[in-house]
Structures are given as structure tokens and as C-alpha cells.
């Protein structure tokens, strides 16, 4: 789709020049798969981030750091990404669109876009941190980044870091959609860390596409903490999540349907984790 209102396509010599351009109103472009579908309302410059050395994956403090212009396909093919958190990131990535999309879409563009995402719930459940530059470099939790609405401010995301969860930890992801290629009607990512008595030391329960980007079910997480991972605890947690989820209706599903799905997906994720940790 060729689009109107693009005044110039700038190839910045370095990150500083790219940030300066973005702060002056230019639109950052990575894979461009989303920019192309949302043309600017008025004439604007675009800044090509793919010319900057922002792609690549490296081990970092026991976890993995992924440069912003790394494609989803490159992530999917990387053994460190495949290994992290029992493989939940890779499990999720194969359900993002199609190979044609993943070959072009980048993790930085995906996170900056900040909506309708299978990726964000998983990264939130794994306590990922994001690094960005708005004239100076900052690192903060991905949860804080969205809570503060940073993705709507002029900045350039440079990397995302996924820490390796503790030894006795399990993670799971479920996407519910008509086909894997389609956007989710609802998705869910959970992570449970167990202590040495096999009680839940920490819990993450994130529900996405409610249709808001992702909702951390804080009350459910608090409820799970300190409890054993039994079928009864799982059923109660799933019911609590269904009651608390900020579900809304849109063209893909009603709020009621999303609440029912929340209960099912949370239960399935937690059950999968329980089976894995048994």
C-alpha cells in the first residue's frame, strides 16, 4: 500500500540523529508493516531505523537482550530465545501473523505500536525491561513503560531484555483466534515461580486483547502467591481473572465472550504450568 503524506524518508547517520528527527516530529520506521497501514494525517518525515546497528540478539546477565530492529523471524530462529523461560517466547512467536509478516516485523516496532499484541502479554509475564532513547538512554520495566504511556511519546526503543526466570518456574501462553494468522480474540500469558516447598512464590497472570493491549491481573497474582499449585487453586484463580478482566466488546467479540475466554485461557495456562512443574 503506497501511502500519502510522506515528505521525506531520512536515513539517519546514527541514533542521535534519529532521536533528534523523531523529537522534531518525524515518524520512526522499522519493518514498516504497521506504519504502512496507518499513514500520517498530515505531511511528515519518516526515519529509517533499519540502517542503524540496532539488530541482534545476545546473552545478557542470564537472560537475553534483543535489539529493536531484530525481526520476529530472527528471534524465532535464535537458540537463546528458544531456550528462555521453557520456550514460551518461541511458542508465542509462531502464532504472530504469518512468516511473511514475521520476516519483516521487528520487536521494537511491535512494542512501540503497543496494541493488539500476542508478544506484549508474554514479555510482561516474564518481567521484561525495555531500553529507549529520547535524547538520553533509559531502561525501565516494560510494565512501567506502558503504564506511563511512554510508547506514545517521541522516543526510539533500542532493545528489550528478557530475564531468565528462577529455576523452579513455569510459563505458558494461549492465543484464541479463528486462525493463527488472525489477531487474537483474547490471549493469556502466565508465569509461576515456586519456592522450595512447592508453593507459589510469585505469579504473573496477563490477559491481552481484551481488546486493550494487556491487563495484569494483580488481584489474581496476589491470591496465588503463597498457595500450593493445586487444581482448586487454579480454578479459583481463573474465576477471579474472569471477574476482574477489563473486557470490552468490539467487532471481534463481546465483553461477555471475552470473560468466558479469560477463565478458560487462564485455567489452561496455569494447568499447563502445573503439569510441567509436577
Amino acid at each position: 500500500m503506497s501511502i500519502a503524506n510522506v515528505s521525506r524518508f531520512v536515513r539517519p547517520p546514527d541514533l542521535g540523529a534519529a532521536v533528534a528527527a523523531v523529537r522534531a516530529g518525524a515518524i520512526p520506521v522499522s519493518g514498516g508493516t504497521d506504519v504502512m497501514l496507518h499513514p500520517p494525517a498530515q505531511a511528515a518525515d519518516m526515519v529509517d531505523l533499519t540502517v542503524l546497528p540496532l539488530a541482534g540478539i545476545e546473552s545478557y546477565r542470564g537472560g537475553v537482550r534483543i535489539g529493536a530492529t531484530t525481526t520476529l523471524t530472527a528471534m524465532l530462529g535464535d537458540p537463546r530465545v528458544a531456550a528462555i523461560a521453557g520456550g514460551v517466547v518461541a511458542t508465542m512467536l509462531v502464532e504472530v501473523g504469518s512468516p511473511l509478516l514475521r520476516n519483516r516485523a521487528t520487536i521494537g516496532g511491535h512494542l512501540a505500536r503497543g496494541r493488539l499484541s500476542d508478544v506484549i502479554p508474554v514479555l510482561l509475564a516474564l518481567d521484561a525491561t525495555i531500553t529507549w532513547n529520547d535524547g538520553s538512554a533509559h531502561t525501565q520495566s516494560l510494565a512501567g513503560f506502558y503504564r506511563e504511556g511512554r510508547h506514545r511519546t517521541p522516543l526510539i526503543i533500542t532493545s528489550i531484555t528478557i530475564p531468565e526466570p528462577p529455576a523452579r518456574s513455569g510459563s505458558a501462553f494461549r492465543k484464541f483466534s479463528r486462525t493463527a494468522f488472525e489477531l487474537a480474540i483474547l490471549n493469556c500469558a502466565c508465569r509461576l515461580d515456586l519456592d522450595d516447598r512447592a508453593a507459589i512464590a510469585a505469579a504473573r497472570v496477563v490477559v491481552g486483547e481484551t481488546p486493550a493491549v494487556a491487563a495484569s491481573m494483580n488481584d489474581v497474582e496476589v491470591h496465588l502467591a503463597g498457595r500450593p499449585l493445586t487444581p482448586e487453586v487454579i480454578v479459583t484463580a481463573a474465576q477471579m481473572a474472569a471477574a476482574a478482566v477489563p473486557a470490552r466488546s468490539d467487532e471481534r467479540a463481546t465483553a461477555e465472550y471475552r470473560r468466558v475466554l479469560t477463565e478458560v485461557l487462564v485455567r489452561r495456562c496455569l494447568t499447563e504450568i502445573a503439569e510441567r512443574l509436577a
Partner: protein, 157 residues
């Protein structure tokens, strides 16, 4: 703005609009095998290899492919004849109207370059972003699996 790129082995220079997509550029340059089905990344009819990986040409800015190498379905045939992906598609009856075929073959080419021995499920997953509205998927999937076998046999002599 001006860019230079290689299309099916031929170096091309083009004056482009900064908001132009690769699909429109390629068609403008004469590569009309690159089809415009949906213009929004849903159907895969415009798939081409961009520096070795299959992408939706409708979702890529032409301004970002300066210096890149693009392959369309027109590059598949060699002096030796049709590429196995092409003749198995014909033999299996995987082509009816043929509109989706160029994109589907380039998507399959990417798959087989990275996974020479795919399962049927892997082929189906690879075609997730390729829509066919007349033949369906059974015959294209069978054709791609046969092509994979032929390519492996050719590689191992």
C-alpha cells in the same frame, strides 16, 4: 528520491515517491507477477524475496530497499526449465486462476531454503499468510511437499 536495487538479478535504478511500497514499485518496473490482492498484508499475493526472505511487498517501503536484492517468481525458471516448485504446482493441479501462485511459490521458496524437509503441518503454517480463493490449500501443500522431496534428491544426487 532515487534508489538502486537488484530485481531478479538485474540492477535497476528508480525514482520513487517516499511513501511508495515495494509492490507498487516492482509492478511499475514491469514485474507484474507481483500481484496486488489486498494491499494490506493479509493475502500474500505480492510476496517476494527481499534479501533472501519472503515478505509482503505491499507492507515494505521502497525507500528502505535501496541496495537490496529482490527476487520475484520470474526468477525461478532457469535455462534448464521450470523450478520444481513451479512444475509440481502445475502437475498437482495447484494452479487455477493463478493469482495467488507467484506469492505462494516465493513463500514456499523461503520455507524450503530454511526447512528443506518440512512436515505437512509446517507447510500449512508457512502458508498462513497466503490466501487462495479458488484452488484451496490441499493441492498447493501437496505440490510443495513433492517439490521439497525433488529438491532434496537433487541436492543429494
Amino acid at each position: 528520491m532515487k534508489i538502486a536495487l537488484t530485481v531478479d538479478g538485474v540492477r535497476r535504478e528508480a525514482e520513487i515517491d517516499p511513501g511508495e511500497c515495494v509492490m507498487d514499485l516492482l509492478r511499475r518496473l514491469g514485474s507484474t507477477s507481483v500481484k496486488n490482492g489486498c494491499d494490506r498484508g493479509d493475502c500474500g499475493s505480492c510476496a517476494v524475496l527481499l534479501d533472501g526472505r519472503a515478505v509482503n511487498a505491499c507492507l515494505v517501503f521502497a525507500a528502505q530497499v535501496d541496495g537490496s536484492e529482490i527476487r520475484t517468481v520470474a526468477s525461478l525458471e532457469s535455462p534448464a526449465g521450470l523450478h520444481p516448485l513451479q512444475f509440481t504446482a502445475l502437475d498437482a493441479g495447484a494452479v487455477q486462476c493463478g493469482f495467488c501462485t507467484p506469492g505462494m511459490l516465493m513463500t514456499a521458496l523461503d520455507l524450503l531454503a530454511n526447512q528443506p524437509d518440512p512436515t505437512e503441518a509446517e507447510v500449512r503454517r508457512a502458508l498462513a499468510g497466503s490466501y487462495c480463493r479458488c484452488t484451496g490449500y490441499t493441492k498447493p501443500v501437496a505440490a510443495i511437499l513433492t517439490a521439497a522431496t525433488l529438491l532434496r534428491e537433487a541436492r543429494h544426487g
